[in-house]
Symmetry: C2
Subunit: 430 residues, 2 copies
């Protein structure tokens, strides 16, 4: 295989392992070398034990293959419990904490033979408070986006082909957009959230990063995703793509990316159906904040009462409901969101996919995680979202677009994404 | 204090501790003695370490009081993670497993000064498969009900004043009915489910057992429950209680208990509003099974793929979707349940409380957990439920009734229950 093993996709590595061209240990060493060369600058990782990685790789080399993910390295966002590594949530409460149990998703990946390479940096409890140390590999002065900062950057900078993240607001899709990688937020609860730090039961969604749609699909296979209905998509020619024409306040970089993507899709034979989705999003105004803050009150009560001096003030505010959200507002938010889900599924079900913005623009300077305004309603709608890199903005930084559809259309969406990606993704400059 | 310390309620113990009449260590010793005397027969506990309990009690005696639960012993259902005890889920996969982390609820109780006494037996993963060894303290040939078998029995048999359980179908309320104890299932997600084994995200609800409404309220205080609206209930005289007149197929024991309770409530001055709730429950037929089985597919995937020979066949069936539930059926169930929640809240909001059945009759013979037909729709509706013991059936075994109301009316419901309980609870014979 090439001497730049760490730049291969998971699908390519899987093929190389199957044909005996490469070993898991060689893959692991290539990843570790890249991390050693780059992570002092990128700071994607909160924990890697190279010796343990090599031991794990050698064991996997001895075993019969457990499937396409056998031997493929994964980064794991440090809010997932891992039995053999610390899980620290970027919180002083959990410094050196070893939970002695794997999150369900990590267990499923281990059963598929994945190589769990290490833990990636995150915003404190994937929410707010302490920032990740991670920098955007495309420009170290810029944020990789949050909260799955380390997972997105580690894939973008060729440390690992795949990584797990989570999304409660925009924590998977926004970093994918900023870092120029592929990401999948599956339908809510299609993948277990057990063993991931709870932030908001209604919103928390496990998801993953990869460098191609095919790689995202390999992980969807491991989690045995299944659609509510057969998709029926075959080719972009004649496919109907709803272009979200809601008049968002965003930077030209994002607006232009969507306009250009629309033109390219039409040039490829797709039918672009421009539609303002205000009928969905206007009734949802403010609901995400009510749900995330109110459920955060439940989620952070224990830490607020046990560790008031170690928990960041932002979480204390949440546990103590400083925002003053009433339980009546929460019920209103639940019930309105439930209605909006049905409406969105109906509209999105009339087309092959919906294309919308992933972020308000290129990655901003500094370490802040960025705005989740374009992601949070889709999170509350529980629908699958795939970020597809769609060229560069004026600062030569990546801009992504989101392909979405009805709940439990994940497989169909991956199929559409596989056709859409070559049209949109202009191979982001490194 | 009395020489039967273990028979006191949590509120009484709390008063005794505050006034210096008793120490935490004395309470702990009384509980441990009762367990030593009785648990060979009742088999409520999967783990108790008496030395560790005494050490914990002595530490609590040294500390300034953290509030009304300071020093009060709790049993913890063995699907809650506990940092200082095994957590075994009644599964051979988890034999001797020590997760090194507390469930959020256990952490919150520790912050309130509670004495975590030990782990109580459960159905395998609180669902199906392996039965709890626990017997009904009122008749050892009968079931205590499941899945929170040990928690209900430990409170009923005066081992501990309070215990945590969970409900996904009927696992809190049904054992409370069979064992003649009080139980509270709060509004869904009002209390964190983090660190409790995931069975079904939409259904899993942490709850607790006690021997009085006042004791249930102490735990509600620790979890900082808050209502969506002020309750306004003052006295039973003139209060409107909706009597669920849906024609269920149940044993005379339960039917009679509800009829007698209605008469007694009317005699106490309440207005009994008899109403058939078929308009709520008929559209919900089958939904609970779809949600619990479909979400179980997500929840048990990791164990099914990691431990196919150790996971009970019932969970393998769930992970492999042997029931053949489609994701379309799941979405239909989600959306219908969301509508039913709004309808139920509206109907229940027109009265002070709703009174319905807790179980189809007295505890049946054997160790099976019993039928959850009367509980599961209320679980899917996410509404608070309180079991109130309401006399004995023809076999001199307890029969309970459920007081329920709209989502996030937990505090109000406790206030109503405090007035209803003395009318219904004829002090179950021991």
């Amino acid at each position: 295989m090439t001497d730049e093993v760490n730049r291969l996709t998971a699908a390519e590595l899987s093929g190389g392992l199957r044909s005996g061209q490469i070993t898991v240990e060689e893959i692991a060493r290539a990843c570790l070398e890249r991390i050693a060369a780059r992570d002092a600058e990128v700071r994607a990782w909160s924990y890697v034990d190279p010796d343990a990685v090599i031991r794990q790789a050698r064991e996997l080399d001895k075993l019969p293959s457990r499937g396409p993910l056998h031997g493929i390295p994964f980064g794991i966002k440090d809010i997932y419990n891992t039995a053999d590594m610390p899980t620290q949530h970027n919180s002083p409460i959990y410094t050196g904490h070893r939970p002695n149990v794997d999150a369900a998703t990590v267990g499923t990946l281990r059963a598929a033979g994945a190589l769990i390479l290490g833990k990636t940096d995150t915003m404190e409890f994937a929410s707010t408070g302490r920032l990740a140390a991670t920098r955007n590999p495309h420009n170290l002065e810029r944020t990789p986006g949050g909260s799955s900062s380390g997972s997105a950057a580690s894939v973008a900078d060729f440390h690992v082909p795949l990584a797990l993240g989570t999304q409660t607001g925009g924590s998977l899709i926004r970093p994918a957009s900023y870092c120029g990688v592929y990401a999948m937020k599956p339908t809510w609860n299609a993948v277990s959230a057990e063993g991931i730090k709870l932030i908001s039961t209604t919103l928390d969604t496990a998801g993953w990063y990869g460098r191609s749609v095919a790689d995202l699909a390999l992980v969807a296979d491991a989690f045995e995703l299944e659609d509510a209905a057969p998709g029926g998509f075959t080719t972009l020619a004649g496919a109907r793509i709803l272009i979200d024409a809601t008049p968002y306040q965003v930077e030209p970089a994002s607006r232009d990316a969507l306009a250009q993507a629309t033109q390219r899709l039409e040039a490829a034979g797709a039918v672009a159906v421009r539609r303002d989705l205000a009928e969905i999003f206007t009734p949802m105004a403010g609901l995400w904040e009510v749900v995330s803050r109110s459920e955060g009150r439940t989620a952070f009560l224990d830490l607020a009462r046990l560790y008031p001096h170690l928990l960041h003030e932002e979480f204390m505010r949440r546990a103590n409901n400083i925002g003053g959200f009433s339980r009546a507002e929460l019920l209103h938010a639940y019930d309105t969101a439930a209605q909006c889900r049905v409406r969105f599924d109906r509209i999105a079900g009339e087309v092959d996919a919906v294309l919308t913005l992933s972020a308000p623009g290129e990655a901003p300077p500094g370490r802040t995680q960025g705005d989740n305004a374009l992601n949070r309603d889709l999170t509350l709608l529980h629908v699958p979202c795939i970020n597809i890199p769609a060229g560069l903005g004026p600062n030569r930084l990546p801009v992504g677009l989101t392909l979405t559809g009805p709940r439990y259309s994940d497989r169909h969406l991956l199929t559409v994404a596989a056709s859409v990606a070559p049209v949109l993704d202009l191979a982001v400059a490194q």
